[in-house]
């Protein structure tokens, strides 16, 4: 679980996950083409995400496709959120939303 928190504690890596969420199963080239990061940096971040099991890879011929793997995030949700009463958290976030809307 440490690896997951460390992997998520970086804006570039979260951005990579967002890119995969938008379009799952991308190659390194596809990911690089849409980001203002060097290929080397993207490759390094992907390795950290894969190590944390947040990205799963599949070889297809000569290419490696990267998939967002949300399972560890879910495990964190179960361990750290559901246990502390998700229902009340949801009520609070709804309260926050309705109060903020009123301010607009």
């Amino acid at each position: 679980m440490d690896a997951v928190f460390k992997a998520l504690a970086d804006a570039s890596r979260r951005e990579l996950l967002d890119r995969l969420y938008a379009d799952n199963g991308q190659t390194l080239n596809e990911l690089c083409a849409r980001l203002a990061m060097t290929r080397q940096a993207v490759s390094k971040h992907l390795a950290i995400l894969e190590e944390a099991n947040l990205v799963a890879t599949v070889r297809r011929g000569r290419e490696k496709l990267h998939y967002l793997n949300p399972v560890p995030i879910h495990e964190i949700g179960e361990r750290w959120i559901r246990k502390f009463e998700r229902g009340r958290l949801q009520a609070l976030s709804e309260l926050k939303r309705s109060l903020e809307q009123r301010d607009e």
């Binding site: 199963g25 190659t27 799963a56 998939y67 949300p70 399972v71 879910h74 495990e75 559901r82």
Partner: protein, 155 residues
């Protein structure tokens, strides 16, 4: 390049167990019910056998066929939704379950793919798997599945 005419996802979880125990949990109804919202698979688990995912109330959620099977390492299912017309009309998807031992764990990889872009079916099943996998992991590692997956899913 990722294939623009396909929709797919790959989920991976590592479970501290043996391939045989994981295989049993994945294929036997009495285990399925505990981590899969009381749903279970009606299947003889041999190549060519028919396959159905049964909901707790007796409805058929999905149906298909065992395309390939190699216990306790891998099986591939043809999988078609049966209770939501907009998903049913997308046709048949493929689901692959791969079990690979790694030290004292088993790496479980679940892949779903369908030959059409922006599939609603893939979107629907992809949102369902994470909690089912988290519950399966909990069942095998602690002897107890997550409470929420032990009762039928609210629709």
């Amino acid at each position: 390049m990722s294939d623009p005419n396909k929709s797919s996802f790959v989920y991976v979880t590592y479970i501290r167990t043996t391939p045989q125990k994981l295989w049993d949990a994945l294929t036997r109804p009495e285990f399925n019910r505990q981590f899969w919202y009381q749903a279970w698979q009606d299947c003889e688990w041999k190549a060519g056998a028919s396959w159905r995912l049964m909901l707790a109330d007796g409805r058929v959620a999905d149906s298909g066929q065992v395309l390939e099977i190699d216990p306790p390492r891998r099986f591939v299912l043809a999988w078609r939704n049966e209770f939501r017309p907009e998903l049913h009309e997308e046709g048949t998807a493929r689901m692959t379950c791969l079990l690979e031992p790694q030290d004292d764990m088993v790496k479980l990889t679940i892949t779903h793919e369908i030959d059409r872009p922006k599939s609603k079916f893939i979107e629907a099943v992809s949102s369902g798997w994470p909690i089912i996998l988290a519950s399966l992991k909990s069942l095998l590692e602690t002897g107890r599945a997550l409470e929420v997956t032990g009762r039928p899913k609210d629709k």
